[in-house]
């Protein structure tokens, strides 16, 4: 009986349960005491991979510790590690890890509005959207080219057959060989995504690797931790870099976020406004007030502007 309930629970969690099965599950749960449900949950929880820390953070912490020491200690450490690296190379392939530990980090942050452009030491071009950051180590060109980023960025990666280019975003690792792609990974969003314009990349997350072809995008839901792959023409994904803003069936909450980033303003919505209402439309060369006016007509709200604050009221 418990085995059947577990099977139903698994389907329910995955979202593949039918209504009849859901009724059967509800019936069983109601008649099962707390301690039995508790032990099923405990088993499931123990099977869960521990925590959810993105793979990039560990390295960042190590170099954070190193940064506390002086330049000379750092230099000594570098030399020591370089020597050790040579010695270790014969024993095992530790070189990459050690040189990563010895490196300093460079972080580029974009402002509250608009875009900034960054050229990495290898010639890779990155356009960052507002409120985004990219971090790379000073010995970026030594081993694999690894960058850590959050927010949104468009990458045009310089070709280098010898060395991989790896982007570590909050929930995913993107492994690249010379290509163009867009990453959307703001920490406050419910999902992160990567859309590929040219070339080929693989995405690694929680032990699985997903190969991606051009004009495909991978969306990771932060609610479920699951990936989905779908087709795209990249029009929507890269519109933030052009003088256009494109929304396709997006909830108002997302529209507001995009406008905040694009124009560097803060938009507050009154509780009477339904943030899940969806909007579809393209704005070309429009000022913020032009766009708000169109949205006002669409949603029937009113607004007032005070400095950098916009308040939407019903």
């Amino acid at each position: 009986m418990i085995a059947y309930m577990k099977e139903l629970l698994r389907k329910y969690k995955e979202g593949s349960i039918s209504v009849e099965e859901f009724d059967a599950l509800a019936y069983r749960i109601e008649r099962t005491p707390d301690d039995v449900i508790g032990s099923i949950l405990a088993e499931d929880w123990n099977d869960c991979s521990q925590g959810g820390m993105p793979p990039g953070r560990k390295r960042r912490k190590i170099s954070g510790i190193l940064r506390k020491y002086s330049f000379w200690t750092g230099l000594a450490a570098c030399l020591f590690l370089a020597v050790s690296a040579v010695l270790f190379m014969r024993l095992a392939d530790y070189e990459a890890k050690l040189s990563l530990m010895a490196s300093r980090e460079v972080t580029v942050r974009s402002g509250n509005a608009g875009q900034s452009s960054v050229v990495l030491p290898d010639g890779t071009n990155v356009i960052l959207n507002a409120r985004s950051a990219i971090t790379y180590s000073s010995d970026f060109c030594a081993g694999d080219r690894t960058v850590t980023m959050s927010g949104e960025g468009f990458f045009d990666v310089a070709k280098d057959h010898g060395r991989k280019f790896i982007v570590i975003a909050p929930d995913m690792e993107i492994i690249v060989h010379g290509t163009k792609f867009n990453v959307y990974a703001y920490p406050e969003s419910e999902y992160s995504e990567m859309s590929l314009v040219e070339g080929s990349v693989s995405i690694g997350c929680k032990g699985s690797i997903i190969p991606v072809s051009p004009n495909e995008k991978v969306i990771l839901s932060r609610k479920t931790g699951k990936f989905s792959v779908s087709r795209t023409d990249n029009e929507l994904e890269t519109s933030w870099m052009k003088d256009r803003i494109v929304f396709v069936h997006e909830p108002l909450s997302h529209v507001v976020e995009v406008l905040e980033r694009r124009f560097g303003v803060q938009i507050n919505c009154d509780s009477g406004i339904s943030l899940s209402d969806r909007y579809t439309g393209t704005f070309k060369d429009c000022s913020l007030t032009d766009i708000i006016d169109v949205l006002r007509m669409h949603y029937g709200f009113s607004y007032r502007i005070k400095d950098n604050h916009i308040i939407l009221t019903h």
């Binding site: 969690k13 039918s18 109601e30 925590g51 959810g52 839901s221 932060r222 479920t224 989905s228 899940s276």
Partner: protein, 205 residues
């Protein structure tokens, strides 16, 4: 890996918010996903996870370094999670969502989850007349059978049934408009089938 023992003993000894934050950042996504998978509502899941961390923090002086934080967090969140699972199992709206989700594709289900569905229903309810809304809420959200609603409101059962079916078709029409972009034809045909089934079974309700 984080050095959990060290973190726990430092938190226990009155060590700062910083160590707690490391633990929080490390376990939050996993615990949130775990709870969400059982309750299907981001609001409820967030509440459980938040309460669990608050309780872990409040009881920090009684922590035992030999137990893992993973173990602690589960023990703390377990009862609240079970309570919420029991509640969701009786939630007619979740049952409605599962019925609805059965008709859309797996990919669409990621975008159109229970939260989106509830927001859609909330919006759709605005289109109902006050009487229809009252009957709809009583039947679909509070789970009160037609017969009881009829005697409570002092009207005939058939009147309640008619009002309910009118309310349901309005709600569905709004949902179809909202979710229209995905698989409009599939949804419309499900709605039509749904209505046909409902009509033919309405005598038995």
């Amino acid at each position: 890996m984080i050095d959990e023992k060290k973190l726990i003993s430092s938190i226990k000894l009155g060590g700062g918010n910083k160590d707690f934050k490391i633990l929080y950042d490390y376990y939050y996504p996993g615990l949130y996903q775990f709870c969400y998978s059982y309750v299907k509502s981001s609001e409820i899941a967030r509440e459980i996870v938040h309460d669990s961390f608050v309780r872990l923090w409040e009881n920090r002086d009684r922590l035992d370094e030999s137990r893992s934080a993973k173990n602690y967090l589960f023990t703390i969140s377990r009862n609240q999670l079970i309570k919420e699972i029991r509640r969701q199992m009786k939630n007619p709206l979740l049952r409605d969502y599962i019925e609805f989700a059965g008709g859309i594709g797996t990919d669409a289900r990621i975008m159109y989850d229970y939260d989106t569905f509830v927001a859609g229903v909330e919006k759709a309810k605005m289109a109902l007349s006050p009487r229809q809304r009252e009957i709809y809420v009583k039947n679909k959200e509070e789970g009160i059978p037609v017969k009881e609603i009829a005697s409570e409101l002092g009207i005939g059962e058939q009147v309640v049934r008619n009002q309910l079916s009118a309310a349901l078709s309005k709600v569905r029409a709004v949902l179809v408009r909202m979710f229209g972009n995905i698989d409009e034809i599939i949804i419309i045909s499900i709605v039509i089938l749904w209505e046909i089934c409902r009509k033919s079974f309405s005598g038995m309700l």
